[in-house]
């Protein structure tokens, strides 16, 4: 039997001499092989299209490239320097995108949530943000399919949102000390909690073993118990004939005389190559996707591709991700087990009595020494004896991390700076400041976390301000003047250009976004392979 995760020995190559589609025009090229790009590549290959997926980073082999070490795991992150500014400059690296085949799924915590129906209708329901051009019902079949193919483990009953379980694979058991403390505190306060739905196996599947609670989900899973597109969708795409050049940085999307995109240019080891394609899908994440579209400006599109609205790079939103700690008399040992094993979404929906719109998810969240001491030092300003004393007793701390919705604002954006990188591309300049609603939501979330930890027997210790994830920058919509892509992630301006990753999010939601990124990607792949799209490809519907 061939298993998806066994492909490394013969299908991975490190140079471009063995290229399959060199000098040929393929049906589609996908730029970036993370959560969205990996899935789209697989679905297009499965439908019989000739596809190339180009990835800026390496093609990892977990067994030889991953280690149980936080410093070493930096190589999985997108470390290229972004210029970061605003009142709350964002931190990148581990906080969001990955670099390498699998992208962020290689280092995500594996928490797998659906958005709630209200997330797609915040303007109508709460008078904030913007409505999406799709509803929960549009994504529902894709959510269900994904959970089934990934074998998401989760509780029999999940009390929030539209999907209430059961999940395909059994709930994770036992849960970590930190998750137990969280549930104890919630119970004392009458807050509902559940074991987390996780893209981490609780039983064997496809030659992969269940989780061994090693705890290094964010450093790359060594036993392959945690899902990533690296070990699931990419091998399936390869089996269906896709080609995956890695360590290849796409620097420009090419435009033909007819105003359609004709392929991409990419750099490998200092040399520039071209890949021609009938359609291009950009799945390079919220910073790199706008950067690539803007850097591809040409005579026909002087302000960048897909940018007639002027909104490429605009309305970016992280999640507020404050970490709240309390000290206990008993050892918690944050380093053990899958980092997130207990959660609550009791504060997810708008409650007018709280004084802000929208809400947040609470994740009981493990930690490791470099991450904890590093954020204490850099984000909370603690160092010297105080830091050393705190870390010496770090086994006695419990932690809850909030995942708070951040409202879209035109003044938060990605653009090109004057500084060039090693490829001669302008570095991204990212500007972010929280708004009033965001700050009120954070204050409420932090206080809720403290109350839960106190109810569990802890003493308030400290809060580390942080963010997680990133969304927006190429939002979807029905009006070409107010959005970048349509409901199928197709550019309003260029019919054979698709943008599909978290950048198409209209609002951020208040929970970990990976499942929604993938559900949107699956819907886009369905559209591309449908007759509906093939028909539309014929006329050159230029809007310039």
């Amino acid at each position: 039997m061939t298993r998806s995760c066994d492909h490394y020995g013969n299908q991975r190559f490190t140079h471009l001499r063995q290229r399959k589609y060199a000098g040929q025009e393929v049906d589609a090229v996908v730029v970036g092989l993370g959560a969205a790009g990996g899935l789209i590549l697989r679905d297009l290959a499965k439908a019989g299209l000739d596809v190339v997926g180009i990835e800026a980073g390496p093609f990892w082999d977990p067994a030889s490239d991953f280690a149980s070490d936080e410093l070493h795991a930096r190589t999985l992150n997108w470390q290229d320097t972004r210029l970061s500014t605003g009142q709350n400059p964002l931190r990148f690296g581990h906080n969001n995108s990955g670099r390498g085949v699998g992208g962020g799924t290689v280092h995500f915590t594996g928490v797998f949530y659906r958005f709630h129906a209200s997330d797609f209708r915040t303007r109508t329901l709460d008078g904030v943000g913007e409505d999406w051009p799709i509803t929960y019902a549009d994504l529902e079949p894709y959510y269900a399919k994904l959970e089934e193919e990934i074998k998401v483990s989760g509780p029999r009953e999940f009390p929030w949102g539209e999907f209430n379980g059961p999940y395909p694979y059994p709930v994770r058991e036992p849960i970590s000390g930190n998750a137990q403390v969280f549930r104890r505190g919630c119970e004392a306060l009458g807050i509902r909690s559940a074991v987390a739905p996780l893209a981490i196996l609780s039983a064997p599947y496809d030659g992969r073993p269940p989780c061994i609670n090693r705890g290094f989900c964010n450093q790359g899973c060594l036993p392959n118990a945690k899902f990533s597109t690296l070990i699931q969708h990419i091998p399936q795409a390869l089996a269906d004939g896709a080609e995956v050049p890695s360590d290849c940085m796409v620097t420009r999307i090419l435009v033909g005389k007819d105003g359609r995109v004709s392929g991409v240019e990419f750099v490998h080891d200092g040399r520039t190559y071209k890949q021609e394609a009938k359609l291009v899908v950009v799945s390079a994440f919220v910073v790199e996707t706008p950067r690539l579209l803007l850097n591809s400006a040409c005579k026909q599109f002087p302000d960048g591709l897909a940018n007639s609205s002027g909104l490429v790079g605009k309305y970016i939103m992280p999640h507020s991700g404050h970490d709240v700690f309390a000290k206990f008399d008993e050892e918690i040992r944050l380093y053990k087990g899958t980092p997130v094993m207990a959660v609550s979404q009791d504060f997810y929906e708008t409650d007018p009595s709280r004084g802000f719109a929208r809400g947040y998810t609470l994740n009981a969240h493990g930690s490791r020494p470099v991450e904890l001491a590093g954020s204490l030092a850099v984000n909370a300003g603690m160092w010297g004896k105080e830091l050393n004393d705190t870390m010496r007793e770090w086994n006695y701390y419990a932690r809850i991390t909030m995942v708070g919705e951040v409202l879209p604002s035109l003044s938060n954006y990605v653009t090109l700076s004057d500084e060039k990188d090693e490829y001669g591309m302008p570095r991204a300049l990212v500007h972010f400041s929280y708004g009033d609603n965001d700050n009120r939501l954070i204050a409420h979330g932090v206080e809720t976390c403290y109350q839960i930890l106190e109810a569990a027997g802890g003493k308030r210790a400290f809060v580390i301000p942080d963010t997680a994830h990133l969304h927006g920058g190429c939002r979807m919509g029905t009006d070409p003047r107010r959005s970048v892509v349509n409901q199928y992630c197709q550019s309003h301006d260029i019919p054979n250009l698709f943008v599909c990753d978290a950048s198409v999010f209209v609002t951020s939601g208040g929970c970990n976004p990976t499942e929604t990124v993938m559900a949107i990607a699956a819907r886009t792949a369905d559209y591309i392979t449908s007759q509906k799209y093939k028909g539309k490809l014929q006329p050159a519907a230029l809007t310039v």
């Binding site: 030889s64 991953f66 280690a67 149980s68 070490d69 936080e70 410093l71 070493h72 997108w78 470390q79 290229d80 320097t81 972004r82 210029l83 970061s84 500014t85 400059p89 964002l90 931190r91 990148f92 036992p174 849960i175 970590s176 000390g177 137990q180 403390v181 989780c211 061994i212 609670n213 090693r214 705890g215 290094f216 060594l222 036993p223 008993e330 050892e331 040992r333 380093y335 053990k336 087990g337 020494p369 470099v370 904890l372 001491a373 590093g374 030092a377 850099v378 300003g381 160092w383 010297g384 004896k385 830091l387 050393n388 870390m391 010496r392 007793e393 086994n395 700076s417 990188d421 300049l429």
Partner: protein, 205 residues
């Protein structure tokens, strides 16, 4: 291992290294030295050890040598530093110029080089640097002072908490592949993990 300073006397993560995968073992063992430096001068190394000693509250030369070696490796990397404020120079330039600036500040305030100052005076300079309150010398305004402090503390702390002696002291089980953790619930620990106030089961048993 040298003197043990934590709540878990007798616990030594390295006694379990034969249980780790070979890749991880090799990565961690390199932190014990010997170190070679490609970028930093011996004065810069001494400055970084002194500064990192304050930032991490550590005085063992073996541990500080690893911290300085980590600076040398990171500052020499071309991959990037994830993020940077537009008005702040790239990290190598920031740290190298920053060490010279620390020396100038020391001479300005105490008429002595930074390394010749007493512990209290060195500490005070770093405290002021964190708050951006040192006098402006050259281009070193408040933004650059704060950025320098953050870069120094970030690199020093991440190296320090990657040293296996420190893992032992804080009772961190460390690498756990391929064996993983079995007893993850409250009050439980695997027999090889750090036990409060006493030793874990010896790895040789």
């Amino acid at each position: 291992m040298a003197s043990h300073r934590g709540l878990y006397p007798g616990y030594d993560v390295l006694a379990h290294k034969h249980e780790w995968d070979a890749n991880t073992r090799q990565i961690v063992e390199k932190r014990l030295g010997p170190f070679s430096y490609k970028l930093l001068s011996s004065w810069e190394q001494s400055m970084l050890k002194a500064v990192a000693g304050h930032l991490t509250y550590e005085d063992r030369p073996e541990v500080l040598a690893w911290v300085a070696a980590h600076f040398d490796q990171e500052l020499g990397k071309a991959i990037g530093e994830s993020q940077r404020q537009p008005e702040v120079p790239p990290q190598k330039e920031l740290v190298v110029a920053g060490l010279k600036a620390l020396e100038e500040w020391a001479k300005l305030q105490y008429q002595k080089g930074f390394l010749k100052l007493g512990v209290q005076d060195q500490f005070q300079i770093l405290r002021d640097l964190q708050l951006g309150q040192l006098p402006m010398v050259g281009k070193w305004n408040e933004t650059l002072q704060r950025a320098l402090f953050k870069k120094l503390v970030s690199l020093a702390v991440e190296a320090y908490y990657s040293h296996p002696w420190v893992w032992s002291e804080i009772g961190y089980g460390g690498p756990a592949y391929p064996r993983g953790y079995v007893r993850i619930e409250l009050g439980l620990a695997d027999p090889w993990e750090a036990q409060r106030g006493g030793s874990s089961i010896d790895a040789e048993l």
